[in-house]
């Protein structure tokens, strides 16, 4: 699975690379967590059909 020979942003140091990728992953978790898991009623109601269709725990 590790056959990709080119990487994005190869010029950055490995530590900075780790931080940037971790930040991107956290941002993704935050976004889907807010839309799919927030207990705020308005957010729940707006994404209601989506939550059910994704089998996210709902109600």
């Amino acid at each position: 699975m590790t056959t990709a020979s080119v990487s994005l942003g190869a010029s950055v140091s490995s530590q900075s690379r780790f931080m940037q990728l971790a930040l991107a992953a956290l941002l993704g978790i935050f976004v889907m967590g807010f839309v799919g898991f927030s207990h705020i009623d308005a957010v729940h109601n707006a994404a209601h059909d989506y939550r059910h269709s994704m089998a996210f725990p709902c109600h």
Partner: protein, 264 residues
Amino acid sequence: MNLFRNVVFIAAIAGLVAGVVLACLQAYATVPLILKAEVYEQAGGGHHHDHGAPAATDSNAMSTTAPAGDAMSSAAPAAAEAAPADEGWAPAEGFERFAFSVLANIVTGIGFALILVAVSEFAGGIGGWRQGVFWGLAGFAVFTLAPGLGLPPELPAMPAADLTQRQIWWWATVAATTAGLGLIAFRKSLPLAILAVLLIVAPHVVGAPQPDSYGTAIPEGLHHQFVVAVTVTNLVFWLVLGAVVGVVRGRFTGTATSLRDSFA
């Protein structure tokens, strides 16, 4: 933040494409079943998560008894119809509801894409659409299959355990399955592979939070249809997401350093 920007750019394109595809599939396959289930929900009446009927009758009752209530109900008839007073704002039925579903699909599509791109970059990156399909299968296993075993897709008006406990189990299962699949795929060691299997199995040994009673007005056939629809639509979503990430990333890296520098 050159790398971060590239990851966000790729995720935005892939999430947009896969989110629109998923929204179309849902409109055809899952939303009609949800609407059917809401008929049972409203017929049942006393459920804690009723969507329309009780609120509508409440405001009608108010308007007939009190003149002040009459003014209130005429001020916001659409909102009262869509959202019971105790549940806050909700989109109006029809187009608005559909539009918010599409928006939710795109936004979370980008969220899933961010996770997928970031994690795959740690492992060397997705090299093309075909590798992307395999990464998509992994995403499907992690985010749909594994949590769906313990907490099957549920329709409105179906009984369920405490929401927070289910959400904790959901996230723990996603984390354990991710770790397990990662160990199997990227560590060539038998003990670690055994550990991986234990990690994947563990959440199901613990078991998902279950409701006190399974009684529901929803026919079993309708629910089964919904489980199949949700699982298949999610599979397509993940395959499209992975493949598009592979293609877009290829465009990026294919044009070599000049593009990278111009984005820097």
